[in-house]
Protein backbone atom coordinates (compact mmCIF):
# COMPACT_ATOMS: atom_id res chain seq x y z
CA UNK A 1 0.00 0.00 0.00
CA UNK A 2 1.31 3.40 -0.95
CA UNK A 3 0.32 6.49 0.99
CA UNK A 4 0.98 10.05 0.06
CA UNK A 5 3.15 11.54 2.70
CA UNK A 6 4.74 14.76 3.74
CA UNK A 7 8.45 15.16 3.85
CA UNK A 8 8.52 15.06 7.62
CA UNK A 9 6.76 11.68 7.58
CA UNK A 10 10.01 10.04 6.55
CA UNK A 11 11.09 7.41 9.07
CA UNK A 12 14.10 9.38 10.26
CA UNK A 13 12.00 12.46 10.98
CA UNK A 14 9.30 10.39 12.66
CA UNK A 15 11.85 8.75 14.90
CA UNK A 16 13.56 12.01 15.81
CA UNK A 17 10.25 13.74 16.41
CA UNK A 18 9.22 11.00 18.80
CA UNK A 19 12.56 11.22 20.60
CA UNK A 20 12.33 15.00 20.87
CA UNK A 21 8.84 14.68 22.35
CA UNK A 22 10.17 12.22 24.87
CA UNK A 23 12.89 14.68 25.89
CA UNK A 24 10.31 17.43 26.26
CA UNK A 25 8.18 15.27 28.53
CA UNK A 26 11.27 14.33 30.51
CA UNK A 27 12.17 17.99 30.93
CA UNK A 28 8.76 18.60 32.56
CA UNK A 29 9.23 15.65 34.91
CA UNK A 30 12.72 16.84 35.90
CA UNK A 31 11.47 20.41 36.34
CA UNK A 32 8.76 19.05 38.66
CA UNK A 33 11.34 17.17 40.68
CA UNK A 34 13.56 20.21 41.06
CA UNK A 35 10.70 22.59 41.82
CA UNK A 36 9.53 20.14 44.48
CA UNK A 37 13.03 19.50 45.85
CA UNK A 38 11.99 20.95 49.23
CA UNK A 39 8.41 19.67 49.32
CA UNK A 40 7.78 17.17 52.12
CA UNK A 41 6.69 13.66 51.07
CA UNK A 42 7.39 14.41 47.44
CA UNK A 43 8.76 11.47 45.52
CA UNK A 44 11.13 12.00 42.63
CA UNK A 45 9.75 10.88 39.29
CA UNK A 46 11.48 9.69 36.18
CA UNK A 47 10.37 8.69 32.72
CA UNK A 48 10.67 5.17 31.52
CA UNK A 49 13.80 4.90 29.40
CA UNK A 50 13.26 5.81 25.81
CA UNK A 51 13.29 3.09 23.24
CA UNK A 52 12.19 3.59 19.69
CA UNK A 53 10.38 0.26 19.58
CA UNK A 54 8.12 1.31 22.47
CA UNK A 55 6.68 4.29 20.70
CA UNK A 56 6.87 3.40 17.09
CA UNK A 57 4.89 0.91 15.08
CA UNK A 58 6.03 -0.31 11.73
CA UNK A 59 4.01 0.74 8.75
CA UNK A 60 4.61 0.44 5.08
CA UNK A 61 4.53 3.54 3.02
CA UNK A 62 6.14 5.11 0.06
CA UNK A 63 5.96 8.06 -2.28
CA UNK A 64 4.52 8.21 -5.77
CA UNK A 65 4.42 10.95 -8.34
CA UNK A 66 1.11 12.28 -9.52
CA UNK A 67 0.09 12.19 -13.16
CA UNK A 68 -1.75 15.39 -14.01
CA UNK A 69 -1.50 15.12 -17.76
CA UNK A 70 -1.22 12.30 -20.23
CA UNK A 71 2.39 11.65 -21.01
CA UNK A 72 3.53 12.07 -17.40
CA UNK A 73 5.55 9.21 -16.13
CA UNK A 74 4.51 7.55 -12.93
CA UNK A 75 7.26 6.87 -10.49
CA UNK A 76 7.01 5.17 -7.16
CA UNK A 77 9.41 4.94 -4.34
CA UNK A 78 8.55 2.50 -1.65
CA UNK A 79 10.14 1.77 1.63
CA UNK A 80 8.77 -1.68 2.28
CA UNK A 81 8.74 -2.58 5.92
CA UNK A 82 11.35 0.02 6.81
CA UNK A 83 8.88 2.75 7.55
CA UNK A 84 8.10 3.56 11.12
CA UNK A 85 5.22 5.55 12.46
CA UNK A 86 4.56 6.94 15.83
CA UNK A 87 1.47 5.54 17.46
CA UNK A 88 0.86 7.66 20.54
CA UNK A 89 3.05 9.50 22.96
CA UNK A 90 2.44 7.76 26.23
CA UNK A 91 5.49 7.89 28.38
CA UNK A 92 5.35 5.96 31.57
CA UNK A 93 6.14 7.86 34.76
CA UNK A 94 7.62 5.59 37.38
CA UNK A 95 8.24 6.52 41.00
CA UNK A 96 11.92 6.48 41.79
CA UNK A 97 12.92 6.36 45.43
CA UNK A 98 11.34 8.86 47.78
CA UNK A 99 13.53 11.91 47.70
CA UNK A 100 14.91 14.41 45.25
CA UNK A 101 18.68 14.61 45.01
CA UNK A 102 19.21 18.04 43.48
CA UNK A 103 22.64 17.23 42.02
CA UNK A 104 21.36 14.06 40.39
CA UNK A 105 18.40 15.92 38.91
CA UNK A 106 20.64 18.69 37.59
CA UNK A 107 22.83 16.07 35.90
CA UNK A 108 19.72 14.60 34.31
CA UNK A 109 18.60 18.02 33.09
CA UNK A 110 21.98 18.57 31.44
CA UNK A 111 21.92 15.10 29.92
CA UNK A 112 18.38 15.64 28.67
CA UNK A 113 19.31 18.96 27.14
CA UNK A 114 22.35 17.50 25.38
CA UNK A 115 20.44 14.52 24.01
CA UNK A 116 17.71 16.85 22.82
CA UNK A 117 20.30 18.96 21.03
CA UNK A 118 21.71 15.82 19.42
CA UNK A 119 18.22 14.95 18.15
CA UNK A 120 17.58 18.46 16.79
CA UNK A 121 21.01 18.47 15.13
CA UNK A 122 20.26 15.14 13.49
CA UNK A 123 16.91 16.52 12.37
CA UNK A 124 18.62 19.56 10.86
CA UNK A 125 21.21 17.37 9.16
CA UNK A 126 18.50 15.14 7.72
CA UNK A 127 16.74 18.21 6.35
CA UNK A 128 20.06 19.18 4.81
CA UNK A 129 20.27 15.80 3.10
CA UNK A 130 16.81 16.27 1.62
CA UNK A 131 17.78 19.75 0.50
CA UNK A 132 20.90 18.37 -1.18
CA UNK A 133 18.80 15.76 -2.95
CA UNK A 134 16.37 18.43 -4.16
CA UNK A 135 18.95 20.96 -5.28
CA UNK A 136 20.12 21.15 -8.87
CA UNK A 137 23.81 21.35 -8.20
Amino acid sequence: MVNHMALTDLPVFQALKSKMQWHQTRQVVLAENIANADTPHYEAKELKDYSFSDHIGRQEFGISTKTTASGHITGTLSADGNGVEQKKDMFEVTPNGNNVVLEEQMMKVTENQMDFQAATSLYTKSLGLIRTALSKT
Partner: protein, 136 residues
Protein backbone atom coordinates in the same frame (compact mmCIF):
# COMPACT_ATOMS: atom_id res chain seq x y z
CA UNK B 1 4.22 22.38 24.05
CA UNK B 2 5.79 20.42 26.84
CA UNK B 3 8.82 22.67 27.18
CA UNK B 4 6.58 25.62 28.05
CA UNK B 5 5.01 23.45 30.76
CA UNK B 6 8.48 22.83 32.11
CA UNK B 7 9.07 26.59 32.27
CA UNK B 8 5.86 27.04 34.29
CA UNK B 9 6.88 24.32 36.73
CA UNK B 10 10.30 25.88 37.25
CA UNK B 11 8.72 29.30 37.65
CA UNK B 12 6.51 27.91 40.41
CA UNK B 13 9.69 26.65 42.07
CA UNK B 14 11.25 30.11 41.84
CA UNK B 15 8.14 31.68 43.32
CA UNK B 16 8.02 29.20 46.19
CA UNK B 17 11.69 29.74 47.08
CA UNK B 18 11.10 33.48 46.80
CA UNK B 19 8.33 33.24 49.38
CA UNK B 20 10.58 31.17 51.59
CA UNK B 21 13.29 33.83 51.39
CA UNK B 22 10.72 36.40 52.49
CA UNK B 23 9.91 34.35 55.59
CA UNK B 24 13.62 33.87 56.35
CA UNK B 25 14.17 37.62 55.96
CA UNK B 26 11.31 38.28 58.40
CA UNK B 27 12.85 35.90 60.90
CA UNK B 28 16.33 37.40 60.63
CA UNK B 29 15.04 40.98 60.71
CA UNK B 30 13.03 40.22 63.84
CA UNK B 31 15.75 38.20 65.58
CA UNK B 32 15.91 40.85 68.32
CA UNK B 33 12.27 41.95 68.43
CA UNK B 34 11.23 41.67 72.05
CA UNK B 35 7.90 42.68 73.52
CA UNK B 36 7.31 46.16 74.99
CA UNK B 37 6.04 44.97 78.36
CA UNK B 38 6.91 41.85 80.40
CA UNK B 39 3.51 40.38 79.40
CA UNK B 40 4.17 40.71 75.66
CA UNK B 41 5.54 37.76 73.73
CA UNK B 42 8.57 38.47 71.60
CA UNK B 43 8.60 37.70 67.88
CA UNK B 44 7.90 34.03 67.18
CA UNK B 45 9.90 32.37 64.41
CA UNK B 46 7.89 31.52 61.29
CA UNK B 47 8.34 28.25 59.44
CA UNK B 48 7.47 28.09 55.73
CA UNK B 49 6.32 24.85 54.14
CA UNK B 50 5.88 23.74 50.57
CA UNK B 51 3.04 21.83 49.01
CA UNK B 52 2.88 20.35 45.55
CA UNK B 53 -0.32 20.16 43.62
CA UNK B 54 -1.38 19.32 40.12
CA UNK B 55 -2.07 22.56 38.27
CA UNK B 56 -4.78 21.87 35.69
CA UNK B 57 -4.01 25.00 33.68
CA UNK B 58 -0.35 24.06 33.39
CA UNK B 59 -0.94 20.32 33.22
CA UNK B 60 1.91 19.43 35.55
CA UNK B 61 2.71 19.21 39.23
CA UNK B 62 3.72 22.63 40.48
CA UNK B 63 4.96 23.70 43.89
CA UNK B 64 3.73 26.55 46.01
CA UNK B 65 4.36 28.02 49.41
CA UNK B 66 1.95 26.29 51.76
CA UNK B 67 0.74 27.43 55.14
CA UNK B 68 3.27 29.42 57.14
CA UNK B 69 3.26 27.98 60.64
CA UNK B 70 4.89 29.19 63.83
CA UNK B 71 7.86 27.62 65.53
CA UNK B 72 6.51 26.36 68.87
CA UNK B 73 9.92 26.00 70.53
CA UNK B 74 10.37 28.04 73.74
CA UNK B 75 11.68 31.59 73.64
CA UNK B 76 15.20 32.42 74.69
CA UNK B 77 15.84 34.58 77.73
CA UNK B 78 18.56 37.08 78.46
CA UNK B 79 19.34 38.86 81.73
CA UNK B 80 18.78 42.57 81.25
CA UNK B 81 17.09 44.15 84.28
CA UNK B 82 16.86 47.65 82.78
CA UNK B 83 14.88 46.47 79.74
CA UNK B 84 11.24 47.62 79.65
CA UNK B 85 10.13 44.04 78.93
CA UNK B 86 12.16 42.53 81.79
CA UNK B 87 10.25 40.51 84.41
CA UNK B 88 10.68 40.85 88.20
CA UNK B 89 13.89 38.81 88.12
CA UNK B 90 15.35 40.88 85.30
CA UNK B 91 14.95 38.39 82.48
CA UNK B 92 13.77 39.41 79.02
CA UNK B 93 12.22 36.93 76.62
CA UNK B 94 13.83 37.08 73.19
CA UNK B 95 12.62 35.51 69.92
CA UNK B 96 13.24 31.80 69.28
CA UNK B 97 15.16 32.73 66.14
CA UNK B 98 18.58 31.17 65.67
CA UNK B 99 20.37 33.17 62.99
CA UNK B 100 22.65 30.22 62.24
CA UNK B 101 19.65 28.07 61.32
CA UNK B 102 18.19 30.92 59.29
CA UNK B 103 21.48 31.28 57.42
CA UNK B 104 21.55 27.59 56.57
CA UNK B 105 17.90 27.74 55.44
CA UNK B 106 18.74 30.78 53.35
CA UNK B 107 21.57 28.91 51.63
CA UNK B 108 19.23 26.03 50.89
CA UNK B 109 16.64 28.40 49.44
CA UNK B 110 19.35 30.03 47.36
CA UNK B 111 20.57 26.69 45.99
CA UNK B 112 17.05 25.54 45.16
CA UNK B 113 16.35 28.86 43.47
CA UNK B 114 19.51 28.50 41.38
CA UNK B 115 18.58 24.91 40.48
CA UNK B 116 15.22 26.11 39.15
CA UNK B 117 16.91 28.91 37.24
CA UNK B 118 19.27 26.38 35.66
CA UNK B 119 16.33 24.26 34.54
CA UNK B 120 14.75 27.33 32.96
CA UNK B 121 18.03 28.05 31.19
CA UNK B 122 18.29 24.44 29.96
CA UNK B 123 14.68 24.50 28.77
CA UNK B 124 15.26 27.82 27.04
CA UNK B 125 18.19 26.33 25.15
CA UNK B 126 16.06 23.36 24.12
CA UNK B 127 13.38 25.69 22.77
CA UNK B 128 16.09 27.62 20.94
CA UNK B 129 17.38 24.40 19.37
CA UNK B 130 13.89 23.56 18.19
CA UNK B 131 13.53 26.98 16.62
CA UNK B 132 16.95 26.50 14.99
CA UNK B 133 15.49 23.63 12.93
CA UNK B 134 13.50 26.27 11.08
CA UNK B 135 16.64 28.19 10.23
CA UNK B 136 18.49 25.19 8.84
Amino acid sequence: MDLIKSLFVSASGLKAQNGRMRIIAENVANADSTGRTPQDDPYRRKVPSFTSHFDKAVGAEVVELGRVSEDTSPFNTIYEPGHPAADEEGYVQTPNVNTLIETVDMREAQRSYEANLNVIEATRRMVQKTIDILRA
